[in-house]
């Protein structure tokens, strides 16, 4: 191709064409847009929030979802996110300590619940205690706070050592849910908010069996002067937003 270009157009035109091709930016970012990094459990709720928010104004919000731990690492490596909706309080703490997030713009936005989901039998406390579950899907506890909560539940019900089920780990809760929904694993400990999205029977694990999954949001340093990011962060604390969040199976978080 380059030889063809050189022969037909001469060297300068060929180089100019190549330069044009290279520097043409893929995204002509709109001024009023912001990128929100969200823990996978909250992604569908966030879509609902954004739908409501975008109707009210001309801001454009983009979603990037993943596990809290992975997104945290990406922010450290310079990922261009304006807001981070984590599934814990630890990562927002660390971002503030590292100077990557604004300490004055940090709020709890939801408290999550964990459920036992089963595709083959009625999930219950007795089922969990019985130790008959052979394979259990959870999110990776190192990366996903709901995975860490699931580990606490297993310890609480004495499902360690020989009685422990084989754990099948998703990188984040969305991948874990996909394993269950496709029938590849029969049982799983997943967030209540996600279980309701694809149906099936669940048993809600009592709050006493694991530390509450308190989810904090932070405005990142990059989004400090972004009007769209500031507007969305303010909207997150509104009554309308709270109603959408609790309707999706979260408990209301108070600062």
């Amino acid at each position: 191709m380059i030889a063809f270009l050189f022969r037909v157009y001469g060297v300068t035109t060929a180089i100019r064409t190549l330069c044009l091709l290279i520097f043409l930016s893929p995204s002509l970012a709109r001024a009023e847009s912001a990128t929100v990094a969200v823990a996978a459990n909250f992604a569908t709720t966030l879509e609902r929030l954004i739908h409501y928010f975008e109707q009210a104004g001309d801001h454009d919000i983009r979603i990037v979802q993943g596990s809290t731990g992975k997104l945290y690492t990406q922010i450290h490596h310079g990922a261009p996110f304006d807001i981070f909706l984590a599934a814990d309080t630890d990562r927002p703490d660390r971002l503030v300590a590292d100077g990557l997030a604004m300490p004055e713009n940090r709020i709890p936005y939801a408290i999550g619940r964990l459920v036992l989901w089963s595709g083959t039998e009625t999930p219950s406390e007795a089922l969990l205690r019985s130790g008959t579950i052979r394979r259990l899907a959870i999110a990776n506890p190192e990366l996903a706070p709901y995975g860490a909560a699931a580990k606490e539940v297993l310890a609480e019900y004495g499902l360690t050592d020989e009685r422990a089920p084989a754990l099948v780990m998703g990188e984040n809760v969305a991948q874990t849910v996909a394993m269950l929904a496709t029938g590849n694993v029969d049982h799983g400990l997943i967030p209540l908010s996600m279980a309701s999205a694809f149906g099936g029977e669940v048993w809600t694990v009592p709050d006493t069996a694991h530390a509450p999954v308190r989810q904090d949001a932070v405005l990142l340093k990059r989004g400090r002067d972004n009007p769209a990011a500031r507007a969305f962060f303010a909207f997150l604390q509104s009554d309308a937003a709270r109603a959408i969040i609790t309707a999706d199976g979260y408990r209301e978080a108070t600062p």
């Binding site: 030889a3 190549l18 091709l21 290279i22 893929p26 990037v64 990922a79 969305a174 991948q175």
Partner: protein
Amino acid sequence: MIDLGPLWLTLHLAAVTTALLLIVGTPLAWWLATTRSRARPFIEAITALPLVLPPTVLGFYLLILLSPNSTLGGAWVSMTGETLTFSFTGLVVASIIYSLPFMVQPLQAAFERVGPMPMEAAASLRASRLDAFLTVAVPLSARGFLTACVLTFAHTIGEFGVVLMIGGNIPGETRVISIAIYEQVETLRYDEAHILSAGMLVFSFLVLALVYTFNRPRMIA
């Protein structure tokens, strides 16, 4: 409605990568095809490394190399105000390394087939080395150029692991087709995943069929 953003982004990334690799890869392939240097096997090995290395190894080193905390990444941030990681530019850098053998190897083979004779003939007619290269070696290697460009383009479109590690999943910036499919499967949007996956399957088949059609050695009549 299916989001076509990842499609355009992927095509753009593949086009930019192919264009830049043509500039970088042509002199390198020519050097490898003509040199008698003892360094040649080592340079050839380095060129072929992306073929055998797991994408995670490339991704890991690139993440460190391009990070704003590194010398290169930091210099880029102070020049442009943007980070190299999790950006389109970063993906271009990664793709150039990742697809390098797909450009260099077909070109090198084509240049080797040209051999020294036509170049010597051109030199005896007082053509400069660049002139001889552009007017003799390049036209004689036309099929090699076509193969190299098509394979580089297609291979960049099929990139996944490296993009996942250094690109994240940012709409309009780094969410290429393979990443979009991964996310659609994870979030149970199988309809959209089917459309994009089937499209990739058909596209890849057509590309390979094209390469094999053009590379069929012609029988002498």
